[in-house]
Symmetry: C2
Subunit: 187 residues, 2 copies
């Protein structure tokens, strides 16, 4: 849980007592490559803080075609938020791409932390703000971006993940062919 | 400012003193149809709460082609968040589509309110959460949706705006031709 404290304290400082309380809302879980953290159709009961590992979050259409909404690596918070906040079943899948350790918190735990500690309410707001800005950029890049622009955007959003994610999935995320992606890499 | 109080109190209750302080961070502004609230290249100094009117937020590419990121109507909060939170110049334009009245708050004002009042920190977190979920849906619908699914998604996101926005812009937002949109309407 030292990692959790360090992660939170990048934004707000906690006393030992406060952190004892905060950490009681988290459980730890190990996930192997190819395992699902969330499967479409299941309840999205947890939000995950990724300590190590890489995940991809995607939607499967009726023909089984996969659409990658986001990747998530170290220190990202991730879940199917529509399902998590709306208490609905997940429409997205979250699959482990490299052995991972995550911390899990329920919506109830998250809201209790935020209600008890103004500092934690602030922490979650800052995290959401960053996520919101990243998604607004993703919408823009999907609407208007050329492959080159999408690739550069990807590099900004996931600087540490470029090397860890197989090119096949990066191409899928960018909506380009593998040949186009190879050309972009070689520039 | 009664409207502001009512809007905030849908989520958190404020005392009269608290509201007096909160409202001091807002200024009111009227905007005419065809006026810009934000122009790309300018600073995005304000976040806007729309009391009346309709706006569209879009990106212009080098050839002058317009890409609509979002519409915003009554009770929506809107700005170019990447620019607003990151203190950068705007890359998006926000144009008034029907005479409007908005409340404006600076980032400094917003952060001061949130720091002084745990309730306001909570309020802004809830608003961001809703916005985040809406954007995650927009990404998904851009990636995988059929015109029919995008149209239905649009109806869920903007139930009060369907009648107010000219069909030309709805078609542009959905990425479909006007003929396709007419077929969707008639179903």
């Amino acid at each position: 849980m030292d990692r959790l404290r360090k992660h939170i304290e990048e934004i707000v400082k906690l006393t030992d007592d406060e952190f004892e309380r905060v950490k009681s809302f988290f459980t730890s879980r190990r996930v192997k490559k190819h395992q699902y953290l969330i499967q479409g159709g299941d309840a999205a009961s947890y939000e995950y803080l990724i300590l190590t590992g890489v995940f991809r979050m995607f939607y499967l259409d009726e023909d089984g075609k996969e659409y990658i909404v986001q990747f998530a690596g170290e220190n990202w918070w991730m879940t199917d938020y529509q399902a998590y906040f709306g208490d609905k079943t997940a429409t997205l899948h979250m699959l482990c791409m490299a052995d991972a350790e995550v911390l899990c918190t329920t919506l109830n735990g998250r809201e209790t932390m935020a209600a008890e500690f103004h500092k934690m309410e602030h922490f979650f707001r800052v995290k959401l703000t960053n996520g919101y800005v990243a998604l607004q950029r993703r919408v823009l890049s999907l609407l208007s971006g050329t492959p080159q622009q999408r690739y550069e955007e990807f590099g900004k959003l996931y600087p540490q993940l470029m090397q860890k994610i197989p090119k096949k999935y990066i191409a899928e995320y960018l909506g380009v062919s593998r040949e186009t992606l190879s050309r972009l890499y070689s520039r």
